[in-house]
Amino acid sequence: MNSDFQEDAARVTDRLAAEALIVDVGAFEGPLDLLLTLSRTQKVDLRQISILALAEQYLAFVEKAKELRLELAADYLVMAAWLAFLKSRLLLPPDPEEEGPSGEELAAHLAFQLERLEAMRKAAARLMARDQLGRDFFARGITEDVQRVRSVKYTATLLDLMQGYARIRTRDDFRPFVMDRDSVMTMEQSLDRMRRLIGFAGDWTDIASYLPEGWETDPVKRRSATAATFAASLELVKEGKVDMRQSDIFAPIHIRRRADRDG
């Protein structure tokens, strides 16, 4: 009588707990979370937990949910099926024909998973309870920037130097070195000349036509004058006095006075 009463009372408590769980089903993060919550009703160390009892609790929960026509996510039903299978394995004597892990092994693993999840939850809580930067302890408020002083070190090797020299000296077919200033035209000279001439160039004109008289024939003079004229043209472009165009690689370069800047 007394024990009957206690059993009834226990069932009522279980049922109430199960109903409370069902109301909260959305609050569980999946079947494992639910199993962990259910396991607490056993009020024992997780190492001594009865997985069989837990399986029954879970299955009862799923039954209840069905009665209440609650939509349970698929993984809850998968877990229910697996626990039903586990329960049968735990209850029935092991079948020597059957391959695979025993019911005890499966139950032990589930117990391990529950214990591990519980342990991680406790660890998480301990972690969050620690003093935290910016809440309990603080970093330096006034920081000083480290100034980066960048120094550039230039290098060159002897080979660079010799090759550089060789490069210059071979451009003129190894002609002996003479001071023939008269075959060199500087950009300044060319610029002076072009500033005077550009006023007349209304249309696209080949820059070759700006070479001074007498400089177009001698290759050495022509090269220098072309380079100087080209450089001077670019300078004029930069000043906004002329436009420049070249239709293709090695094609003649044309310049034209920029009309809108006239005056």
Partner: protein, 214 residues
């Protein structure tokens, strides 16, 4: 012009002077500074490690503490004085339970794959959860696991250690007990194909955690 090559001609500054230098450098920044950085910034021949040890002692019990975070050092206010700093308190976004648990799992099981996190929590990990932890700079990608599919792993960062006042990952609360209880093992379900997993790999898992500390 500084002539660093000449520094070696002089003797290193006395230890007391090196201590002052370390103090100044660490006071100037909010971020932990590595011993290597200190060495790089101090005159040639300095031994920041010795200076740090002296300095740590000097600040013992003060309002400001010299703390070690992995192989870096920083000054932080003493934990008991936080109540004075309400103005400085940084409002952090409240983390979801999923995020907090995921963070703990990464910290205790690192390096850990997403599948392992899911196995431990029993639910899939939403993309946003790990993203959030990465954005907080508490979690970063570790080395890929050398198993089929070469999954990425996650580990906690120096910023995580700094935030929670941990000198290194070994200082995580309860770590030893959890390990002793076998709760940090990646135990595959019985009968699964993973059953005959390479035992070396399991060693690797645990070992890695300490490589990061070195």
């Amino acid at each position: 012009m500084a002539e660093p090559e000449n520094d070696s001609l002089f003797e290193a500054p006395p230890l007391a002077e090196q201590e002052r230098m370390v103090e100044a450098i660490l006071f100037a920044t909010a971020e932990p500074v590595t011993v290597r950085d200190l060495t790089g910034r101090m005159p040639h021949g300095c031994d920041p490690a010795a200076a740090l040890a002296h300095l740590r002692k000097r600040y013992e019990g003060r309002g400001v503490q010299l703390v070690r975070i992995d192989n870096a050092w920083a000054f932080r206010t003493a934990g008991d004085l936080g109540f004075l700093m309400q103005k400085e308190t940084v409002e952090t976004r409240k983390l979801s339970r999923a995020a907090i648990e995921t963070l703990a799992i990464i910290a205790y099981h690192q390096p850990v794959t997403r599948a392992e996190i899911e196995e431990i929590r029993g639910v899939s990990v939403s993309r946003g959860t790990i993203d959030q932890l990465i954005e907080l700079e508490w979690v970063r990608l570790g080395r890929r696991r050398m198993t089929p599919g070469r999954p990425v792993t996650f580990v906690v960062t120096q910023g995580f250690l700094d935030h929670f006042g941990l000198e290194n990952a070994r200082d995580l609360p309860g770590l030893k007990e959890l390990r002793a209880a076998g709760l940090l093992e990646n135990r595959p379900p019985p009968g699964s194909v993973l059953d005959d997993q390479d035992p070396e790999e399991d060693d690797g898992d645990q070992g890695d955690m300490f490589e990061d500390d070195a």
